[in-house]
């Protein structure tokens, strides 16, 4: 039993953090918000150079062959820095779907995984759990669900209608398309388990990002509360503010391990995977929502402005909270587990299969 990350995993996390501190500084994010695609080719290139798009591409295709547990702390960093790039969607989730394709689709697999390593592939993924498809118009490849089948298409073959999000770095599209033999990659029988796993992996990715976002908003609030003075003292010296922020720290402290547990469950296809992932999503959503709420309160009127950086991360957190399964979806899955007749609950059952 060892519930720690290894040195290499921590080093990778630290390297990604150092990279994003510079490349995804808040003033850069604001610039990207203003661009038509909301994306920066330059940033994606740098992300590729860092090896992040190759992380879970198998070594045979030029990648690093890493897994969900390796990813989870990186996804936290991606969340923390609120990058305007659907990296989790493409390099984590999309690659995992491609990895799962059976051998007869070797050509597709090879083409797109190698392009991913080269930083030449944006993937968009459409699943009915989300009403809209992220990046559908700017993607190089769109993977779509249709009655549990897996279809692949490109933006020129579908009709997209952009819907603006309050988070200006999210680019969401209604996608109208017609499934055909030409677009179908896998039948429902083949694709159903891949989609089920993809939903869990995507929810895990959102959960990990929510932990990062919660921490980011907490750090911004600590900085603000230590600087801002009223009654001749930093407002952060007052207990009312301290306790708001301490409560956030408590939620983060007890949400992160749930995410790590879920990452291990996804990696090992644990029988309780669905409930563990949903738990992670619910716990991190709660932590991030509290961090946003107590963060804005600690910022006072500044927190309600466009000028304060807090807004960018709050909006991302609110969006991710309902992305890849809202609380209704995830609570139903937790309920299904704990209220089952022979549910393994109680002491000693946490790590049983």
């Amino acid at each position: 039993m060892d519930f720690t990350f290894d040195a290499q995993q921590n080093q990778f996390r630290d390297a990604v953090r150092s990279f994003l501190v510079v490349e995804a500084a808040p003033e850069r994010l604001r610039e990207y918000w203003e661009t038509p695609t909301g994306r920066s080719a330059e940033m994606r290139k740098k992300i590729t150079d860092q090896g992040i798009t190759s992380l879970s591409v198998p070594e045979a295709y030029g990648g690093l062959g890493m897994g969900d547990v390796d990813w989870v702390q990186i996804l936290e960093q991606v969340g923390y820095h609120g990058i305007p790039d659907s990296l989790a969607e493409a390099a984590y989730l999309g690659v995992a779907i491609l990895n799962a394709l059976p051998d007869e689709h070797e050509a597709i697999k090879k083409k797109w995984l190698e392009r991913m390593v080269a930083g030449q592939a944006r993937l968009a993924i459409g699943h009915p759990i989300n009403p809209l498809v992220h990046d559908a118009e700017i993607a190089d490849l769109i993977l779509l669900w249709h009655n549990d089948e897996l279809h692949a298409t490109t933006p020129d073959k579908v009709k997209t209608t952009q819907r603006d999000s309050i988070d200006a770095s999210r680019r969401l599209y209604e996608v109208e398309w017609t499934p055909s033999d030409e677009t179908r990659v896998l039948t429902a029988d083949q694709a159903a388990p891949i989609w089920a796993e993809a939903v869990d992996r995507a929810a895990l990715a959102a959960a990990a990002q929510l932990v990062g976002l919660a921490q980011c908003m907490l750090d911004l609030s600590i900085d603000y509360a230590a600087q801002r003075k009223q009654f001749g003292k930093p407002v952060g010296s007052f207990q009312a503010i301290k306790h708001h922020l301490a409560n956030v720290a408590v939620q983060i402290e007890f949400a992160a391990p749930v995410v790590y547990r879920a990452a291990d469950a996804v990696a090992n296809n644990h029988p309780r995977r669905a409930a563990l992932v949903s738990h992670a999503k619910l716990a991190t959503g709660r932590a991030a929502r509290l961090s946003a709420r107590n963060g804005i309160q600690s910022h006072g009127a500044m927190g309600y402005t466009w000028e304060a950086d807090l807004q960018m991360y709050m909006k991302r957190a609110w969006a991710l909270d309902a992305y890849w399964g809202d609380s209704v979806f995830h609570k139903a899955r937790v309920a299904e587990f704990i209220f089952a007749d022979d549910a393994p609950l109680g002491p000693g059952e946490t790590f049983t299969a």
């Binding site: 409560n247 408590v250 000693g348 946490t350």
Partner: protein, 392 residues
């Protein structure tokens, strides 16, 4: 990361499970806040000791098993799973013993630890005073040197288990005129020493779970001081430190309550379904109990690899005490209008069989956010030492 137990860990679990199956009393013991119940629990500590289960983390030579933190978690999980009696000597085994092992002399360890492990000496704690609660550094009780003895005068209060316990550990001002954290000594003394008056305090449930203690020229050997002259504060802080922060409340306790709550809910679901908030609270209870378990495993793994934890230990106290409240409030909601009822023989309703387990624990849950440092104090610690916010 490897979230599987080793063969050795599984064997350890099987061993304790088998022992508990054979030894846990079939009839629940009376509350250890009654004279009869206290002695029953003392006897249980002796039984545990005879099986070498009373202090598993202690070294073999002292009657323990040299268990590491993961094995300790496994022991606790099985303990709570089996519904074994509450630990009347928790103050000793989990709070004082680690302090003694770190700061005590060989002689002190030899004198106190074996009798603690066997339940011959049950320990009470003496921190708070009428004027020193959350502000513990305001302690005024004095220990004045006279020859090779201290002469103790003053008053302690909220002293847990003191009514029936044998020994007390606590902080006393041993340097005349010293202020705050300075000049305090960590002293052990037998509660039957002449000059000690113990006045029981009835708790919410009517039982004397803690007491006021009055000291009137109470003489104890200087040899009963743990650590250096005037080092009491830092030693007391170590007692409240990380390992004790981890060990005060193991996850198994809350997982057991959460699992029982799920059962209670399912049994009464038809009657309470119209209040979806109850179902939501039951789910959150299970999730938070698991989250607490996972966080504890993460901390234990990290400590075993040489990691350290500091102020973030204060997040534990807040999390479990709020979880405990949530679970018991939810149980009370499920039991509805009968939840207020005390046990009655014979039962007058089928609901009665579910009552006694929850009401007393509901009352005790009210104390969680207060004892061992109020949650407000914990939040201050988190804000200042973990988040780096400026001191007031």
């Amino acid at each position: 990361m490897k979230l599987e137990y080793t063969d050795k860990q599984n064997a350890f679990r099987a061993e304790i499970r088998g022992w508990l199956d054979a030894n846990v009393p079939k009839e629940p013991l009376k509350s250890f806040d009654t004279e009869e119940g206290f002695e029953q629990h003392r006897q249980w500590e002796k039984t545990l000791f005879e099986g070498r289960w009373s202090a598993v983390t202690w070294p073999q030579a002292l009657g323990g098993r040299g268990a590491d933190l993961i094995e300790w978690l496994i022991f606790e999980e099985e303990y709570w799973r089996a519904g074994a009696p509450l630990r009347v000597n928790q103050n000793g085994v989990f709070l004082l013993a680690p302090t003694l092992m770190e700061y005590g002399t060989e002689e002190q360890k030899k004198k106190f630890l074996p009798r603690m492990a066997s339940g011959e000496d049950i320990w009470a704690q003496g921190w708070s005073e009428p004027g020193a609660g959350s502000d513990m550094a305001a302690i005024r009780s004095t220990a004045k040197v006279d020859g090779d003895e201290y002469v103790i005068n003053g008053q302690k209060t909220w002293s847990t288990r003191a009514v029936y316990a044998d020994w007390l550990f606590g902080l006393f001002r041993c340097e005349a005129g010293s202020q705050r954290h300075k000049g305090l000594c960590f002293i052990l003394l037998p509660l039957d020493t002449p000059g000690i008056t113990i006045r029981p305090i009835q708790q919410l449930n009517g039982l004397p779970g803690f007491a006021e203690i009055f000291f009137d020229d109470v003489r104890v050997p200087i040899a009963n001081r743990i650590g250096g002259d005037g080092d009491g504060w830092s030693i007391a802080m170590a007692t409240a430190g990380f390992e004790r922060g981890l060990m005060l409340r193991s996850p198994g306790r809350f997982q057991r309550t959460a699992a029982d709550l799920v059962k209670l809910y399912k049994k009464h679901e038809d009657r309470v379904a119209a209040d979806p908030a109850i179902r939501d609270a039951v789910m959150r209870s299970w999730m938070d109990a698991e989250a607490y378990t996972l966080a504890t495993y993460k901390t234990a793994s990290s400590l075993m690899k040489g990691g350290k934890i500091g102020a973030e230990a204060s997040t534990n106290k807040i999390f479990w005490s709020e979880l405990d409240l949530l679970m018991h409030e939810t149980a009370m909601s499920i039991l509805g209008a009968r939840a207020e009822l005390l046990p009655h023989v014979p039962a007058t309703s089928p609901l009665d069989q579910d009552l006694d387990q929850w009401l007393d624990a509901f009352l005790f849950a009210q104390a969680g956010p207060i004892y061992a440092g109020t949650n407000e104090i914990q939040r201050n610690i988190i804000a200042e030492r973990m988040l780096g916010l400026p001191r007031a």
